[in-house]
Symmetry: none
Subunit: 211 residues, 4 copies
């Protein structure tokens, strides 16, 4: 896929009619399926359209080019992922710092376990589109959510919750990626969680706080 010559990444039109929304949804779903079934290299617009039960022409009415499609799919995925993380953080506000962190680890692991394959496949898109901005935006959401949660800790105030959140999220995300990217978690799932939790807890505990 060629990337250079100034490509439009935003979808062509917002589906106003119900029918359109269904079509777009089908296309999104089809993209993921093709991605999983045939791999990212073999993904092409014709296959996606076929799977979605529409013609290529129709696909191109909703997305001006392949990149915009992938971009939209990625965006939607990240949005939903972060929605869930935010919800998890909100649900845990007001507890003890270490417990809150434990909750985040748990939530993130669970979400990722459910969709390890999709996650992996989409990573290809990130590189292909150089869609780092989109990922950054997602990371910011995650950090903000975690930081906001940490601010409500009932056992002391962090001097820089944002910084803590940043490292905690990096550690969780990175670790999880490392284990789930390999198909067989070489550690029993529970073990990863325990160790990762221990690491984050001890980090949070070590981070300076004013009571």
């Amino acid at each position: 896929m060629k990337t250079s010559p100034r490509v439009v990444l935003s979808p062509r039109k917002c589906p106003r009619q119900a029918r359109s929304a269904v079509t777009v949804d089908a296309i999104f779903e089809a993209t993921l399926q093709v991605l999983l079934a045939t791999g990212s290299t073999r993904l092409n617009t014709t296959k996606v359209a076929e799977r979605a039960g529409v013609s290529v022409g129709t696909l191109y009415q909703y997305f001006p080019n392949k990149q915009s499609l992938l971009f939209a799919v990625l965006e939607r995925y990240l949005d939903r992922l972060m929605d869930r993380l935010e919800a998890a953080c909100e649900a845990r506000r007001g507890g003890a710092a270490e417990d809150m962190i434990e909750g985040v680890v748990q939530a993130y692991l669970q979400v990722k376990a459910e969709e390890a394959a999709i996650s992996r496949a989409l990573y290809y898109i990130v590189i292909e589109l150089d869609a780092r901005e989109l990922v950054d935006k997602a990371i910011w959401r995650a950090e903000r959510a975690i930081a906001a949660m940490l601010s409500t800790a009932n056992d002391g105030q962090f001097s820089d919750p944002q910084a803590i959140a940043r490292v905690v999220f990096a550690a969780i995300h990175g670790t999880v990626r490392m284990f789930y990217e390999r198909d067989l978690p070489p550690m029993a799932g529970g073990d990863v969680e325990r160790q990762l939790t221990m690491m984050c807890r001890s980090y949070v505990a070590a981070a300076g706080r004013t009571p």
Copy 2:
């Protein structure tokens, strides 16, 4: 007319003459350069051959197909990376556990900083080739090196150094990846290092040890 191919990943022939070795090296080097200059999606065998100053035919005399070339490049990169990590671990044997870990963090950050771009570009190859085995092998080397180092700690024996090593490496690797994959380290470099160090130190400290 082709009749029924077969995808092979191992290189085609070992260069017997001195001339050949030079050629193969040039091809490796060219691959990295093209990868960095044009991105992984734009990489094609013609460009690589051109950059290496040879003809496509020559390239295909050493690698039966594009995949085997990328595979070999990746393998070589990971080998060298792990060589450096192992050296760093060995140089720090026999210290206090937390200090050793600090050293590893430092070393890994340094290595990765030097080649963030290449590292990122190669990650695409991992996905495209589904070369997880190769990555796994590298990870094992890293874990073994760290575990071996931890076993020489002069301030107490870990009950399961392998497990500690695993999580520590995952955290370091994951965190680093997250920050370096975004071109601009959003944290001052020093800050990442400080926080990551703190996290790993506190984890190691928290891990059970028998004096």
Copy 3:
């Protein structure tokens, strides 16, 4: 980047629109023309597409690969050839055995004379594709047609018409091939026919029959 192909011989899609049928026909026709004009070794998909007045892409939309194209062309040719032979056999039912055979010889020679060149060119395809099955199917049709005709002989019943048909067809086909494959029939056309007819007549006469 290709990952793992698979050689398919069946056509890719059935033309649904009228336009498609025209295209496919043009491609068939073009294949034969290129075959005759440049020889089988020089035949390539680009030339065929050009001759057919379409782009390579179009060609590949109907045939997944070069082999399937050649296969289809061969199949169509054999089908038509056998259609004509069957018609000739049917038209001669109910005569004297030797006369019927004479008719078959005549018919086959005529058909082949008309398309000696194509026939020769296609033979290369049979070898290249190892499309013996296709040829076998055609031979079976021929044998069945001849045997059925022989069964209607008004001058005695053959004990094994199938066996007679088999040898008769082999002799006719083989002999014809031998003479037409060399561009210049070294025997005056009439002479071949006369001799071949004599051979087949005497064979049929010699074969056991019950009045």
Copy 4:
């Protein structure tokens, strides 16, 4: 393989030294092996040289190009085949006409049975090189041998032995090719022979003779 621009078909040099003869023989043998093992499309000079245990360069010292190699291989094969047929004819001189013919059928079937695969593979070369002349020469040898044999019949003189020989050989060769080209002779081997013999005997018997 390109065929047009005036290509030299004769071998580059007649091996004068024993060593050369061995090399050339090895190359011939290797060509057949590669032909059988990988098929005619995949046959290439490098593979042949490898199999023969020499380098491509050496191969090109004996044959100016690929075509001349194939040409030589074919020529040698046909020569040997006809040597055997001639021998068979000579051994049967002076018998009854029908018995002599029976002998030829027998001999030809036996020879071809032994090397059906090679025979088939070489046929490709005939087409690729358009080496009909070579084949014609072989056919002439066969016809001459059979005609000469027929002239010694002790039971009557044929008016045109050459013509009889021509048709008999065409029938035998064509029939045999038809049955052996299909891997599985659909008739029990003995049955082919019996029927073919009957056909040729009755033809020879029917052909005019002066006692």
